[in-house]
Symmetry: C2
Subunit: 204 residues, 2 copies
């Protein structure tokens, strides 16, 4: 199997952390680095693998391709159930999906929009709205505040266990530095960040 990714981008990092937590060695995959700024993901050959142009993409040995980070994670969750990162019971699966989606919709996506619309990183291929980017940075900062309160009462994002929701939150928060958003004096969020960053998977 082959993985197309980009080292510094937050979505590929989500997959790398997920695999490391599953004990799946990235060295068992062929890995191809794409340079998104250079437009490597816009080529016809890459769009045949993922018409939406995003990374990461997982390519099976028969040439079939899977994209969307969480779809790829889902594949490995089912094929490698231990340790569960997306829950096991109906209740835990639903609760973890809720928290993971909150981390996407209210943290990772606002951070990504702030990055794209404040810096104009992809101005060669998309319209850029700097005021909207600034608004999204504020939304992400409000979510930092929310998480600081939430993590006063919870060891991890979705409860007492480390899950995919922590992976999404970590990738989003670390990437937020590109728009000067930092944890700062938020003590509970900082303690959580230290806890999840100390796991070997954080360096995957």
């Amino acid at each position: 199997m082959k993985i197309y990714e980009m080292r510094r981008a937050p979505n590929p990092r989500r997959l790398r952390i997920f695999l490391a937590e599953k004990g799946i060695d990235l060295a068992d995959f062929e890995v191809e680095q794409l340079d998104l700024a250079a437009g490597d993901n816009l080529s016809a050959s890459f769009k045949a693998k993922n018409p939406m142009s995003g990374v990461p993409v997982l390519e099976f040995d028969d040439g079939q391709c899977l994209s969307e980070s969480m779809a790829i994670c889902r594949y490995f969750e089912v094929t490698h159930p231990e340790p569960p990162l997306m829950g096991d019971s109906a209740e835990s699966q639903a609760r973890i999906e809720m928290w993971n989606r909150r981390m996407e919709l209210h943290l990772l996506f606002p951070v990504a929009m702030a990055f794209r619309h404040i810096t104009g990183h992809f101005a060669d291929r998309e319209a850029v709205f700097p005021d909207y980017g600034a608004d999204r940075a504020q939304a992400a900062a409000r979510m930092f505040d929310f998480l600081d309160r939430h993590l006063a009462e919870s060891s991890y994002i979705a409860g007492e266990d480390y899950t995919v929701a922590d992976i999404t939150a970590l990738a989003a928060i670390d990437f937020a530095r590109v728009v000067d958003l930092q944890i700062g004096e938020r003590a509970h969020l900082a303690a959580w960040h230290e806890r999840v960053s100390a796991r070997p998977s954080a360096r995957a």
Copy 2:
């Protein structure tokens, strides 16, 4: 169990269609309608159920609440596995999640952003960027074109079976009328739309 929702909003509709496809009768739930324009979802009592303020919310009899449409659907997918709407094998679960997320990221979310930023429907509670809204309407229109090509070769969004990805696409496309986006002459998309709209669940 109780469901908090809003009749005309696309996310609650996703859940209602999902339940109907599972053969779960909405009449078995207590259902409370919220008026989002009036700010019913911004009250302290509702934010105690979902701090992110979105609908639908599923409230269990013990008072625990679950939000995020797909997390609620996941709960019912696990408790009522037949018919599978999110796949059964690792491969089909991953492929359907990929397609459902494509329908969210590249269709439902752009349509929702176009609605909010073109109409200013929630201008009492969020900054409005009309040019960004127009840009998102164009992005959604491009996805209509993509789907028309895709559905020339596929009976349903994620392959030959009806899945949650069709539910997301249907909710998004029907809601897109609020920003004057129509299927028009896209024949394959129109045939798919007629096929999925003919299912009793579409009227749920």
